[in-house]
């Protein structure tokens, strides 16, 4: 019953304990942080394997306490947490990544370790809260609050141009959030509730024109977070300047908050508007895939290359979501996890090589395969997983997405496939420039190979790459019932559209200003 409360708030509790430690006991900080995150990871895995009923589309393990009353809402806002098929994988991924990130940071975070650990744990609570919140208001609170830890992590432990990147990241995201806030006010006013389960029943009944405006508010906020094409410029800066652990969390989990929001709110609550807007998102997703790949192809900095590949990979997720068919959505959910794992791996590897050479410029490397064989093996696996080679995790997700997209919009699938090819190009080129060929720079000659600690950091992720690649159905199955429920709402909306088109007299008012005015006047 209280399982989700423990998962969400144990990290915060750990942060509190670390803050209260006396200065002489500083060596305990790292142990406590790691211990707490391992405990949470254990709970997360337990939830995934034993605690989840894959046959149900409803929120499970629900905890709900009345919190406050908002004007315009007939029901009180509840502090309520719950997990369903959309969030199970993401929650497990988050809890799984955190101990790895914390463990990997013990070497390279040297200043103000205590503050770093506290912010990381607070961030874990924030991210888990976003996924687990089953109340719109609570979701918004977690959404905004989870920005602050990343702001500090980027700003204090980041690279050279960190202040610029930090403020850019924060202001971009907050601008989106404020649009979402207005959309949320409009939604609460129109439906009278903030409960996600009730919203899923009531929001689809709003007039399509009205839906479209609220949808737009939410969609822009999430599109900035993902980021979808015109809003992607903050991402490369943030990634480049972030410390390795910040990059891993940013790519692994924080970007997924955006795609999760698109699915849960934009598609889940406003099916009519989603059908209306799907072509726009298919175009943006498809162009994002190709554009991100071209950007990656042009980078000379390894970390920026991985960051740009994120834009491309998240384009796939957007494509799968807005195909608006179950296959595509399931593929996207899987691909969110895959992207978290493979990009997380790549960022960890980039961090490890940066520790040794203090540069990330591709032309400074070459021939690392002979000096660092273990590193080379891990790097190749990560690259292949990111490129979507069959047998590794990336393939299953991309395949499902392309299948779904082809069903809905073959032209978008064509864009996606070209992205796969380009992806293979830049990833393999980077691999070649890093690992193979003769050793040109003497500095690369005597580089020490991965230490056991580093291997231990990478091993769980590498294992997961293979497991998901071999048995993807294990990870797709839990989401099936919830995706089916969303699909049912989409089907109903399709039916409504069909009726509206065949009978022009019943065409719903699409004049947004008019319906907003009417809403306000009520």
């Amino acid at each position: 019953m209280g399982l989700l409360l423990w998962i969400t708030f144990l990290p915060l509790l750990g942060a509190g304990v670390i803050l209260c430690l006396p200065r002489e006991r500083a060596e305990w900080e790292g142990r406590i942080a790691l211990g707490v995150s391992l405990l949470v990871a254990g709970l997360g895995l337990g939830l995934f394997f034993f605690g989840f009923d894959a046959g149900s589309a409803a929120f499970q393990h629900r905890v709900s306490v009345p919190w406050l009353r908002l004007p315009g809402a007939s029901e009180a806002v509840h502090f309520s947490l719950g997990v369903d098929g959309l969030t199970l994988l993401l929650v497990t991924l988050t809890t799984f990544l955190m101990p790895i990130v914390l463990y990997s940071s013990t070497g390279h975070i040297r200043k103000r370790v205590r503050a770093f650990l506290v912010w990381m744990l607070v961030m874990e609570t924030g991210m888990l809260g976003v996924f687990l919140a089953t109340d719109l208001f609570l979701f918004y609170c977690f959404w905004e609050v989870s920005l602050i830890p990343l702001y500090f992590i980027l700003g204090i432990w980041g690279g050279e141009r960190r202040l610029y990147a930090t403020i850019k990241f924060f202001l971009y995201t907050v601008a989106g959030s404020l649009l979402m806030l207005i959309a949320a006010i409009a939604l609460v006013q129109a439906t009278g509730t903030t409960d996600l389960a009730l919203l899923a029943e009531r929001a689809p009944t709003l007039a399509p024109g009205h839906q479209l405006w609220i949808f737009a508010g939410f969609a822009i906020a999430f599109a900035i977070k993902v980021p979808i094409l015109p809003f992607h410029t903050w991402l490369a800066d943030a990634h480049t300047e972030a410390p390795t652990s910040g990059s891993v969390v940013l790519a692994g989990v924080l970007l997924k908050l955006g795609t999760y929001g698109l699915l849960r709110f934009c598609i889940g609550l406003f099916p009519d508007a989603a059908l209306e807007a799907a072509p726009v998102f298919l175009v943006l997703g498809g162009v994002g895939i190709v554009y991100g790949a071209l950007l990656a192809l042009a980078q000379s900095d390894l970390k920026r290359l991985v960051a740009c590949s994120s834009v491309s990979h998240l384009g796939f997720v957007v494509l799968g979501l807005f195909a608006l068919v179950p296959t595509g959505i399931e593929g996207s959910l899987l691909q969110m996890v895959n992207h978290g794992i493979s990009t997380g791996l790549l960022f960890l590897l980039v961090g490890m090589v940066y520790e040794r050479r203090h540069t990330r410029a591709l032309d400074q490397f070459g021939g690392l395969a002979s000096s660092m064989p273990v590193f080379a093996i891990a790097f190749v696996i990560a690259m292949l997983s990111s490129a979507g080679v069959p047998g590794l995790n990336g393939f299953a997700g991309e395949y499902l997405i392309l299948l779904g997209t082809f069903e809905a919009a073959p032209w978008a699938a064509a864009l996606g496939v070209s992205g796969v090819v380009l992806g293979a190009v830049y990833l393999l080129m980077a691999t070649r420039r890093m690992l193979f060929g003769p050793i040109v720079h003497d500095a690369n000659r005597g580089l020490p190979d991965l230490a056991p600690k580093e291997v231990l950091t990478l091993a769980p992720l590498l294992l997961l790459v293979v497991v998901i690649g071999v048995a993807p159905s294990l990870f797709v199955r839990p989401s099936r019932a919830t995706v089916a429920a969303i699909d049912a709402r989409l089907e109903a909306a399709r039916a409504r559209r069909g009726v509206a088109e065949s009978a022009p007299s019943m065409e719903p008012g699409l004049d947004p200003a008019g319906s907003d005015e009417a809403e306000g006047a009520r």
Binding site: L68, G72, I148, G155, E517, G520
Partner: protein, 510 residues
């Protein structure tokens, strides 16, 4: 109509029963309704007597605290008992006005705490004239209570002057500093001008309607058959609104605010930014019932312009107090959107906007008072400035102070789990619900600019290295600072409680 005149010509009761008013004055409801005013007045008198009584020379802090505590307690009682209209309907003490009183008393208490701590150097007039300072703070608090409760234009004017005149003196209190004198003079000249404009407006209104009672006026002006359309009345309302907008410092009447705020002693700034502003808005929310609904768009445009001007002004500041002063202008703009919503949507929308405004100002009380309080602790004691450069690396030297200032700044920026967020949410929700969709969206989006400059302060404190010259900041003085630290703790607790557990506060609003 007679009721209004009786309040005007105090002491001239109807001939039939010359003592009718005395008996009413003794009634329990009347006594309770006026109890906060009586408590503050008695506190002022006690302070004046005690200041010349050698035996009571050490009782100053006790008297002030007891006065504020009693005023707080009786206001709480008023909230639950709701005595209603007293003094022939010219003063109202109900649940809402009691909540306003709580904000005023809280504002005076916090400002007083920060003032107590700011006598670092013994030569300052703030340190040598403590009794006078406290008398002035309590008097202006009484003025706020009178303003918020008045249902009569003359009584309101008395409250306005009771608030303003002590404030003029308080602004100029650090007379050894030229900026403080400038601030006092500026506020005095402009404030008297605004008071004159208000009086002229109310004279026009009285000439057009024959009434000074807000309730009667609201009824008269709503009646289409009445004289509501007369240009004289329009002008009167316009002039009075302008004077009120001056008091809350919105565009185009905001120019005094940054100079006065940054020149005054910091504790007085805290009082002006929270208490004075709340008192003016309390009356503005009442007064809004008189305004014609066409005025809503004007007010909303002024509100949006204020948000833009305030935020852009703050963005270019390099001095924390001035930045906070501009941010306070921007916050007034947000509240003015709420007033506009009330004007547009009619009585129900006005009630909702008032509740939202109350919550917003309660959160703003803790946030702004706390932020100015931090400034009072860190600023240059001679010049009253606190540049962003001198804040660099504060997190290393004084982590708790830096942490609380961060909390106040993110609350000002409207990040959830702080009172500032919920305040903004409620105001924007009221604006949206009154049908102002575009103003609500624009107002919310403009907050992004605000976060830009709040973040710069946090960035300086946490992410930048201390400047080369560490003597730019005075060292912490643990003994003298104790009252300010108490004040900071109260502010931080208030911000968090209103943000995390706002249920009971929202329940008080009803």
């Amino acid at each position: 109509m007679t009721t209004a005149r009786i309040a005007v010509t105090q002491g001239a009761p109807p001939a039939s029963d010359p003592f009718a008013h005395l008996s009413e004055l003794g009634g329990e409801g009347t006594l309770l309704a006026l109890a906060p005013l009586i408590a503050l007045g008695l506190g002022v008198l006690t302070l004046l007597v005690a200041s010349v009584t050698p035996a009571l020379a050490r009782a100053r802090r006790g008297i002030v605290l007891a006065t504020l505590a009693i005023a707080w307690l009786v206001s709480t009682r008023i909230h639950f008992v709701e005595p209603g209209d007293v003094l022939d309907g010219s003063f109202r003490a109900d649940g809402t006005s009691a909540l306003w009183n709580l904000i005023f008393v809280g504002s005076a208490a916090l400002a007083w705490l920060f003032g107590e701590a700011s006598d670092r150097s013994r030569t300052q007039s703030l340190a040598t004239h403590r009794w006078e300072h406290d008398v002035l703070v309590l008097s202006s608090c009484a003025g706020m209570v009178l303003m918020a409760g008045s249902r009569d234009l003359i009584l309101f004017f008395v409250g306005l002057e009771l608030l303003s005149i002590p404030l003029y003196a308080l602004c100029a209190f650090r007379r050894e500093r030229s900026t403080s004198l400038e601030s006092g003079l500026k506020y005095f000249l402009l404030g008297s001008f605004a008071a004159a404009v208000f009086l002229y407006g109310s004279a026009l209104l009285y000439a057009g309607t024959g009434s000074l009672s807000l309730d009667e006026l609201a009824e008269l002006l709503r009646d289409p058959e009445s004289t509501a359309g007369l240009p004289m009345i329009r002008w009167g309302l316009g002039l009075m609104t302008s004077a009120l907008l001056f008091k809350v410092s919105v565009v185009p009447f905001h120019f005094w605010a940054p100079d006065v705020y940054s020149g005054s002693p910091r504790s007085v700034t805290a009082l002006m930014a929270t208490g004075t502003k709340a008192a003016a808005f309390a009356f503005l929310f009442t007064f809004a019932a008189l305004l014609p609904s066409e005025g809503a768009w004007v007010l909303a445009s002024v509100g949006l312009a204020t948000i833009v001007v305030g935020n852009l002004g703050a963005l270019v500041q390099r001095d924390l107090p001035r930045m906070l002063a501009y941010s306070s202008v921007a916050h007034a703009g947000i509240l003015l959107l709420g007033v506009a919503a009330g004007v547009r949507g009619g009585p129900e929308a006005l009630a909702e906007a008032t509740d939202a405004g109350l919550f917003f100002l309660a959160a703003y009380l803790f946030t702004a008072a706390g932020a100015f309080g931090v400034a009072s602790m860190l600023e240059d004691p001679d010049r009253g400035t606190l540049s962003l450069a001198s804040l660099r690396g504060l997190a290393h030297r004084r982590p708790w102070v830096a942490g609380t200032l961060t909390l106040f700044l993110i609350s000002l920026g409207g990040i959830p789990l702080t009172g500032g967020f919920l305040g903004k949410y409620l105001v924007f929700s009221a604006v949206y619900r009154a049908g102002f969709v575009i103003p609500a969206a624009l107002g919310a989006l403009l907050s992004v600019i605000a976060l830009g400059y709040y973040l710069r302060v946090i960035t300086a404190m946490f992410m930048e290295e201390p400047s080369a010259n560490p003597s730019q900041l005075p060292p912490g003085d643990s003994v003298g600072e104790a009252p300010a630290l108490v004040g900071l703790a109260l502010c931080a607790a208030g911000v968090l409680v209103l943000g995390v557990l706002p249920g009971w506060a929202l329940a008080l609003l009803g």
